[in-house]
Structure formats: C-alpha cells, structure tokens
C-alpha cells in the first residue's frame, strides 16, 4: 500500500502514534543517535547514519535476564525479568540496519529462541528511510547483497521526495501505523511512483565504495588461517571495541551476575555486549587464550563475517554500513582487508 505524506504532517503522524515508544535519530553533541522522540521535528527525519546502530533497541547493551534473592528458608527465589512489550517504532532506519536485524534474527531464532530478543523485536515496527545519497563515504551495501533502498526487515520504507515522503507499507505492522492517521496520507500520483523508482535507481550509482568478487572470499579465507597476513594487517589495531560494538550485525554478548548485596544474597543476572576484539574475550579460566594476539582477533572478525556466517547462514555478516571503517581510530578498513584476502596469492 503506497501513500504520500507531507513532511509538514510528519509531527502530526507522530502525535497519532502516542501509544507507541517512538525512536528517531537525534543530534546530541554532534553525534547522531537513536533516542526517544521528545518533540517531533516538523521537518521530518534526519538523513543520517547514527554512530550506534538501531540494534541497541532490540538488543540493548545492558539487559537484565532474571533476579535472584536468598529466601528465608534455604533456597533462592528467581524472578524472570522478560522485557515488556510496549509497542515501539524506530523511524529513520537505514536499509542496512534493517537487514542487519534480519541477520541477527537468524542467530537468536532457529532452534533456540531467545525470548528476550524476540519480545523486544516483535514489538518494534521498523520505518526505514531510503538512502538517496550514501549517508557515509564508506557505504558499500550493494557489494554485500544489500541496497540503499532495500526493504529487507522493514515494515515501511520512506523515500524523500522533497516536501513529501513516499510511504511504502511493506507489512501489516506498517499498514497499521499508516492507518493510525489515515487522514494525513494521500494516494500517490503515477508520476510520483516513477520518480521514486528513478531516485532508487540513481541512488545505487552513488555509492562510493564497493567490494567486487566478494564470492571468492569465503573460500580464500579457508586457506589463510595460519597466514602471516593477519599479523601485518592488524599491526595498527589498538584492540578497542568500536568496530564490533557499533556494527549492526555483531551480537556477541557476555553474562554476569551483578550482586547488590551479599547477605542476604540478592542480585541480577545481566547480559551485556561483548566483543571478540577484547583480549579477554576468549580467555579460559585455565589462563589459556586461543586468540592471544591482535592477528588472531582480526582474523576472527573477518572470518566470522565472511566465512563462518556464510557457511552457517548463507549470508555475509556485514551489511556494508561502513561504521567500522569510519569510526576505527586507526583507520583499519574492512574493505581493504577483504580485498587483500580476495587477491591473496596462494
């Protein structure tokens, strides 16, 4: 169901959705971040790429799993802390972030369903904004089976037509949002539809970066596990967590008990983001660390995204958003590394 919404009416649409929690990219201290909308911006949505991707809403950095409390008799009371299902809308999502949610669904679904993830994720309606120009100089979504106007994972795709948004509802959830304020939405004229298709086509030519022949990479990686290549490439890595924490597809986590009082014992089991780039990620309690150096950890990141995930889920675990390139403090460039892998002799 396609509709047109005047940008001037955007704020009124948000008002009609007052029963939802609404997120949109907002500028805080020169950094764009998804925050709850406090006062709807009548100019519509910002055409930006946030630093922290939308994954933080469906997969929060800190999540309480359950609480435990020492009871009067011997024994402990455990109380589940499943998240509430307050309906949520995320506005202004880039198609790469929505695709990343689909990839993360694979991991948290399947045979072992992660209830915490799904309770949040099912309550979210994803309203994406097509990238008519790349939001980052390092975008390369087309090379990893993505698209600047991709609809994977989205419930609505908005395309900016200047004074209006072209509103494509892709799912029932999306249609429900539109119906909540149906008087604000008009039917599109035929030339508007053609204009959207033209803009989408043009947007594909604007990406500045690409990774060609990526299909050669998984096989190449298999033969490079012991190569000194990784040592050379990881020389300048400073082993922080930026590339993985800010990656929309990365989803590794750690679980810790946060004890509030030891007598009587009381606390919570908490899940947090974790990263394979921290030296202690694979530290065993014996003291052995199978990934003792940066070379092994860079190798892990590239292998996970371009070989292991492909083998298990038939998808690259990368949606080409370029955040890891833009925000790496030392300029380690995943496209360059993967290209070198692809062209590696032997």
């Amino acid at each position: 169901m396609d509709k047109i919404l005047a940008k001037n009416d955007f704020a009124r649409w948000l008002e009609a959705l007052a029963s939802y929690r609404l997120y949109a990219p907002q500028n805080k201290d020169d950094v764009w971040t998804y925050e709850l909308i406090e006062s709807p911006d009548s100019r519509g949505l910002a055409d930006v790429m946030t630093a922290v991707p939308a994954k933080k809403i469906v997969f929060p950095q800190r999540e309480e799993l359950f609480a435990f409390e020492e009871g009067d008799e011997a024994g402990y009371a455990l109380s589940e802390l499943l998240p509430g299902e307050k309906p949520t809308v995320i506005f202004g999502l880039r198609p790469c972030e929505a695709k990343a949610v689909i990839l993360t669904d694979l991991v948290f679904g399947g045979e072992f369903v992660d209830e915490y993830y799904w309770k949040r994720r099912n309550a979210v309606t994803f309203v994406g904004l097509a990238c008519l120009k790349p939001p980052s100089p390092n975008c390369f979504c087309l090379s990893v089976n993505g698209s600047p106007h991709g609809t994977e994972g989205l419930d609505i795709l908005l395309t900016d037509l200047g004074d209006t948004y072209y509103v494509e509802s892709l799912t029932e959830k999306g249609e429900k949002l539109v119906k909540a304020a149906s008087d604000l939405f008009a039917d599109p004229k035929p030339d508007e539809r053609t204009r959207v298709m033209r803009l989408h086509g043009e947007s594909e030519k604007k990406l500045r970066r690409s990774l060609s022949r990526i299909e050669d990479v998984p096989e190449k990686l298999k033969g490079m596990f012991d190569s000194p290549f990784w040592d050379a490439e990881s020389m300048s890595c400073i082993r922080c967590g930026i590339c993985t924490y800010l990656c929309p597809t990365c989803h590794c986590f750690d679980i810790n008990d946060e004890v509030e009082s030891s007598s009587p014992l009381q606390g919570r089991r908490v899940r947090t983001w974790d990263t394979c780039q921290f030296p202690d990620f694979t530290m065993h309690s014996s003291g052995h660390n199978p990934r003792p150096d940066k070379a092994a950890r860079l190798r892990q990141r590239i292998n996970h995204k371009f070989q292991y995930f492909v083998e298990v889920w038939q998808n690259y675990q990368c949606t080409g958003c370029g955040r890891c390139i833009t925000l790496c403090p030392v300029g380690i460039d995943i496209i360059n590394v993967v290209e070198k892998v692809r062209d590696h002799a032997g």
Binding site: R62, E64, E260, R268
Partner: protein, 142 residues
C-alpha cells in the same frame, strides 16, 4: 514520624596514628556519632584513590582518610604521598560534581582522641543536610 537521615561514613584510618586515636576516643569513653565504619590501613599513603571511589560506589555518604601528621609517619614518607594523591582525588571528585564535603582528609595522631571525635561530629553534621549520596552509588535496582 520521618526518620532522620543518618549518613554512613567510611573512614580509612592509618594503624599507627589515626586508628590509635580513634581507639583512644573509645577507651576514654568520649561520645561521638556512630555513623562511622572504620577501616584500618597500614598507612594513609597506602590508600588508593580506588578505595575512595569504591566506597562511594558502594553507597558511602562520606569518606574520610586520616593519617599521621606530616613528619610523624611511621613509614617516614607515606603521608606525604597521601597528601598529594588525595589532593588530586579530591579535586577530581569535586570536578565531576560530587559535593566537596563528602570526601575529607585529616591528620589525627594517636593522642588526638578528642580531635577524632570532633572531626566525626563535624563530618556528620555537614553530611546530614546533603542527604544520601546517590551520584556515584551503584543503583540497587537499575
């Protein structure tokens, strides 16, 4: 009836001077508020800023570090190092907006039982109007 707020003070007392001073206050039956939890350390110089932060983190309303007077340190120089370290710690805590009254440092010798009680009395009176320390405290239910 509203219960009056009773501040919880963690006091790091050096064994040779301040802790002995607090003992003197005790055996002399000097009265002073019971709000202090004393922790004996070997020397004020051995008090790491981490202990101070951690005490606030665990919910202390006030933290006191007390040692020997300059020149009287059992380990000769420990309290001089403490003077520097704790000055910087105090500046840092104030810089992030913790009330300056909450972190105090004092020199109390083994003979100054009276001084110790006065310091604690003053400390408690200064903390009461400030209320519970919630800024650095880890939140019990997040």
């Amino acid at each position: 009836m509203v219960e009056e707020f009773e501040p919880r003070i963690i006091a790091f007392l050096c064994k040779w001077c301040s802790s002995a001073g607090s003992d003197l206050a005790g055996v002399s039956r000097m009265e002073y508020p019971p709000n202090v939890t004393p922790i004996q350390v070997m020397c004020s110089g051995s008090v790491s800023p981490l202990y101070v932060f951690s005490a606030f983190h665990r919910g202390a309303d006030g933290v006191l570090v007390s040692g020997c007077h300059p020149g009287d340190c059992h380990y000769i120089k420990g309290n001089y190092y403490a003077r520097r370290k704790l000055a910087l710690t105090k500046e840092l805590l104030e810089h992030v907006g913790l009330e300056p009254e909450r972190f105090q440092i004092s020199w109390v010798s083994a003979a100054e039982g009276q001084k110790y009680t006065r310091i604690i009395k003053d400390f408690v009176n200064e903390l009461k109007p400030l209320g519970p320390q919630a800024k650095l405290r880890r939140k019990p239910s997040w």
